[in-house]
């Protein structure tokens, strides 16, 4: 069973548990392949937090663009983050936003890894 702490040491908490469960039956080679791809696509919660804060300076919605929510991003961009209310909500919720995006990416990568080996 691959060790997430060795493969992806920067990940902790809920994300790590989710990945540990997902990669339970992976071979070492599959796990490494997964880790390589996951690392390039993953959004760090701290990054999401910082770009959300930029919303208070006038350019809102970057966090939404970064997590593939283009419609929401456009909405935030043209409405100053829904009059800052959206920005505040995203500020409180930034971790979830990052984790949900990462989980979707993980599932896609898992399918690719499984189908190519």
């Amino acid at each position: 069973m691959p060790n997430i702490m060795q493969l992806l040491p920067e990940i902790d908490g809920e994300e790590m548990m989710y990945l540990q469960n997902m990669l339970k039956d992976y071979s070492d080679q599959q796990a490494q392949q997964f880790a390589m791809m996951y690392r390039t696509r993953r959004r760090d919660p701290q990054t999401i937090l910082l770009v959300t804060l930029v919303g208070f300076l006038g350019i809102a919605g970057i966090q939404r663009f970064m997590t593939d929510q283009i419609g929401m991003g456009i909405l935030y961009f043209f409405t100053a983050g829904l009059c800052f209310i959206g920005t505040i909500v995203d500020l409180i919720n930034h971790k979830k936003i990052a984790i949900e995006y990462n989980q979707t990416q993980a599932q896609q990568i898992a399918m690719m890894v499984k189908s190519s080996t």
Binding site: M72, L75, T79, L82, C83, I92, K96
Partner: protein, 109 residues
């Protein structure tokens, strides 16, 4: 209390927020007087806000008055569509991650 913290951490905050906002906007009469304004900028005294009128706009759209909605804010209908879609996405995400399914191929030894 660690239990409370854990429960609070698992609540779908964003989903609850959008649903509450949509329910509120659907329930009020957007032409009514004395409705509270949720605009942070207005509370600070800044008159220019690119998002102003969104609340009324979405409320009118929810009542079926689309022309009035567009008058209050051009992106009101767009906002409603986008937010509704987001609610759907978050809801399906919620259902996908409650309970962890047993791994395929799991057998009782």
């Amino acid at each position: 209390m660690p239990h409370l913290r854990r429960i609070l951490g698992q609540l779908p905050l964003e989903l609850m927020f959008w649903v509450a906002a949509l329910v509120y906007l659907a329930a009020i009469n957007p032409d009514g007087n004395g409705l509270p304004s949720f605009c942070v900028l207005k509370a600070l005294g800044i008159t220019f806000c690119p998002g102003c009128g969104l609340g009324s706009s979405i409320s009118h759209a929810l009542h079926g008055e689309f022309v009035i909605s567009l008058r209050h804010h051009p992106l009101g209908l767009f906002a409603l569509i986008v937010i509704t879609h987001r609610v759907f996405t978050l809801t399906t995400f919620l259902f996908k991650s409650i309970p962890h399914q047993p791994m395929k191929g799991y057998t009782n030894a």
